[in-house]
């Protein structure tokens, strides 16, 4: 019954999205004004129906209903409930249902809460959102039905990929999807504004909070994904330039550029066409990411067994939406009236530079990600593009971007004088120089990237907090705090990346129980190995006692786990987090002589990488609250007047 209810709700939602599109289209025609009021409720009900449908699927997974094909293929009765729950989106069909659910709920939220946008533009936006939804409903219902019954029901389920059985994975995909699919709102706003020719400052002010919200989720999702790869894969690395990682990085780069250009549009009414274009590009990147991950073109932990037909379906949707939006852009961009101009030496000028550099990085990542696929499609030759390419091509531009990011907030809107700007950035530059000097003196030979990274990080940190200098902190607007926090977050992350690559110390040995091993400032005693059993796995567990000088001992228990369904082995690193860094331990194989492989890392300040990511997202949250509060105040004042 639950499965049928879920499927029925999904069909109804699909029908409503068709209705929403038609109502929107007719309402915008001359004489259709009467229909304008009908679109919002339809969008809200559609969102509710998809939520019900998704809730049904969660129920089926929690109950391990083996008469549903999807559950039987991806779940197991003996799994902890958290992973049954997370298993809902740990597969192709479930994750696509989550995609559609987020899309419809985002559309519903716009319908319910958006008050600033001009009504006709809002209706056009909702119609565009419905058009995107319609394609994905068709995809789900015709080629990836999550509620399909299995007759006869399976006796046992096949289980979930053990790598996905991790608390982080329960929350990482939904977070990422909120960001990924949330960008669709920006796209729909852009399409709406193109249709009604309403691109201007007011439009940008309406769009900004939605872009900001999606960007916050995307930032959190990427940060969490990076930390997951770091502790779950047991390699001690935090970014691999895997196409799947790039698939989430590309929309983030575009959304970051959009976030800054929308601010220029909202504040100074400049960059009209550019902002609309970026919104289209940002969503295109989300679609390309979805295509890469869900088409089966890539083999990875994210790409569930998928047949080529589905990949083809997504490719068609991708072409349709991106092509359609670009065509609309081409047709209408001439009628978007020119906005204000600006001086090169001004806040706007630095933000334009930020946009250009972000676009350049985006171009490099896009080329590196798609090139192997293109070559394979044309010549059939398989090749892979790895970290050396991305680091050498994108790295220098990223460092340049960070330099301008530091300077940007210290430049005034409208027009600034170059000598004054130089004055304002003098102190951060001096701080950088001192750091550089200290590094060359006390840590010679750490390599170019760590050297520049740490130098820049201190300069950026100083420049980021500079806008608060000599200000009444209690009267500083919340969105200024947000900008400070986000930029500081970049500095913190950069410092973490640079110190990780400069100062990490590694020890790799095979030792018998009882031996003591040194890594960095720690001596680690190998106390014991014993078998342990979990709910659906067994493992060999080592007990390690780490001690730094005369400090308190830290007990670490890395494991090598064996799952029976499906049969897989994973290695669970044990990590001790201290103020100065992380001690990362991995247990390897045992040999006939009674020795066990141990891999130990001491990674100074590595946690700064994700702390910075959190700080960036927090900056977004502060800005969002600040903007929404200010708008409300303005509305109240207007109502009062």
């Amino acid at each position: 019954m639950i499965a049928e209810a879920g499927l029925a709700a999904l069909w109804l939602a699909a029908a409503l999205s068709l209705l929403q599109l038609c109502l929107g289209a007719f309402a915008l025609r001359p004489g259709g004004e009467g229909l304008l009021r009908t679109v919002r409720p339809v969008a809200a009900v559609q969102a509710a129906l998809v939520a019900i449908s998704f809730f049904c699927l969660i129920l089926l997974f929690l109950r391990t209903d083996l008469s549903v094909a999807l559950v039987a293929a991806n779940s197991h009765a003996a799994k902890p409930w958290l992973y049954k729950f997370a298993g809902t989106w740990g597969n192709h069909e479930g994750s696509m249902l989550l995609w559609v659910a987020v899309l419809a709920i985002a559309g519903g939220a716009v319908a319910l809460f958006e008050r600033k946008l001009e009504q006709r533009t809002l209706i056009a936006t909702l119609a565009a959102q419905a058009a995107i939804g319609l394609g994905f409903y068709a995809f789900l219902l015709f080629s990836s039905n999550p509620f399909e019954r299995l007759n006869p029901p399976a006796a046992v389920g096949q289980g979930l990929n053990p790598l996905l059985q991790d608390p982080g994975l329960a929350f990482h995909p939904p977070t990422l999807y909120f960001g990924y699919v949330g960008i669709s709102i920006a796209f729909s706003f852009a399409v709406g504004a193109l249709i009604t020719r309403d691109v201007g400052a007011a439009f940008a002010r309406a769009m900004r909070p939605w872009v900001l919200a999606a960007w916050i989720f995307l930032t959190l999702g990427i940060t969490a994904g990076s930390y997951w790869a770091y502790y779950e894969l047991g390699w001690g690395g935090w970014w691999f330039w895997d196409p799947v990682e790039n698939a989430s990085l590309m929309p983030w780069l575009a959304a970051t550029a959009l976030l800054h250009s929308v601010t220029v549009l909202a504040t100074r009414d400049a960059l009209r066409a550019w902002t609309v274009m970026l919104a289209v590009v940002a969503f295109s990147m989300s679609m390309i990411g979805t295509f890469l991950v869900r088409s089966g073109i890539l083999t990875s932990v994210h790409a569930f067994a998928v047949d080529p037909e589905r990949g083809f379906f997504i490719l068609i949707l991708l072409t349709l939406y991106i092509g359609g939006a670009l065509a609309l852009f081409g047709l209408r961009v001439g009628t978007v009236r020119e906005g204000a101009t600006f001086e090169p030496v001004s806040r706007e000028g630095t933000l334009v530079l930020n946009n250009l550099l972000l676009s350049a990085i985006l171009g490099i990542v896009l080329v590196g990600t798609l090139y192997p696929l293109g070559v394979e499609a044309v010549t059939g030759e398989k090749l892979s593009v790895g970290p050396p390419y991305f680091n050498s091509a994108a790295g220098p531009i990223a460092l340049a971007l960070v330099v301008f990011m530091a300077a940007g907030p210290l430049v005034r809107w409208r027009r600034d004088r170059a000598p004054e700007v130089v004055n304002r950035i003098a102190l951060p530059v001096l701080i950088s120089a001192v750091t550089l000097f200290a590094l060359v003196l006390f840590a010679p030979g750490i390599g170019l990237f760590p050297l520049f990274g740490l130098t820049l990080a201190t300069g950026v940190a100083a420049a980021s907090v500079a806008p608060l200098w000599k200000r009444n902190l209690r009267r500083t607007p919340l969105f200024t705090w947000g900008m400070v926090a986000a930029h500081l977050g970049i500095a913190v992350s950069l410092a973490g990346m640079a110190s990780e690559s400069a100062f990490t110390q590694e020890t790799l040995v095979a030792v018998p129980v009882g031996e003591t091993v040194e890594v960095g400032p720690y001596s680690v005693r190998f106390d014991a190995v014993q078998p342990v059993a979990g709910p659906n796995w067994t493992a060999i567990e080592a007990t390690l006692t780490a001690r730094r000088g005369d400090g308190k001992p830290i007990v670490l228990k890395p494991q090598a786990r064996m799952f029976s369904s499906p049969p897989t082995e994973t290695s669970e690193a044990a990590i001790a987090t201290r103020l100065g860094g992380q001690l990362y331990t991995v247990l390897g194989k045992g040999d006939a002589g009674g020795r066990w492989q141990l891999r130990l890392w001491w990674k100074p300040f590595v946690t700064l990488i994700w702390l910075g990511g959190g700080l960036i997202a927090l900056g977004g949250v502060l800005s969002l609250i600040g903007r929404v509060r200010r708008e409300r105040k303005v509305q109240l004042q207007e109502a009062w007047a």
Binding site: N161, G368, Y371, V385, P388, L508, S571
Partner: protein, 144 residues
């Protein structure tokens, strides 16, 4: 500057930035295009020295030798051709590293043709096959 001129300047700058990035990317790719080597590629193109690359193929049965230090291993990677690559690796091999199964390793070739791997890439489950290898496995299966 007039609005129209500024718009044009921006457009040109944007196109230049993205094109520049793509060109930079493509030229970096040219060096990188030979990033992945199968044993047959080594036989054909020779070994690239002083460059981090990936190699991939099947672990030749009976070729895995563990060193006395307990953390180093030597093995041979082969493919459907006669060609093979001797590999040396110091580290913990992934759980699914076995004889006669697919492997992808990252590292550098030495002058004597040995590949010193810095990382053996983990596979996500027993069905996982690195995309570069899937085709070759397919070929060797159809040969059998």
């Amino acid at each position: 500057m007039k609005a129209k001129n500024q718009r044009l300047t921006l457009l040109i700058l944007a196109i230049a930035a993205v094109l520049g990035a793509v060109l930079l990317g493509m030229s970096a790719l040219k060096e990188q295009a030979a990033y992945f080597y199968a044993p047959a590629d080594v036989a054909r193109k020779g070994v690239p020295l002083d460059q981090a690359v990936r190699i991939g193929g099947m672990v030749v049965p009976g070729s895995i030798k563990r060193d006395p230090d307990g953390v180093s291993i030597d093995f041979v990677v082969g493919d459907e051709t006669e060609a093979t690559i001797p590999v040396r690796f110091k580290g913990i091999v992934p759980d699914l590293f076995k004889e006669d199964s697919g492997v992808v390793a990252e590292g550098r070739f030495q002058a004597d043709g040995t590949f010193v791997a810095s990382e053996i890439l983990a596979k996500h489950d027993e069905n996982y096959m690195p995309p570069e290898l899937a085709g070759e496995k397919h070929k060797s299966e159809s040969l059998e």
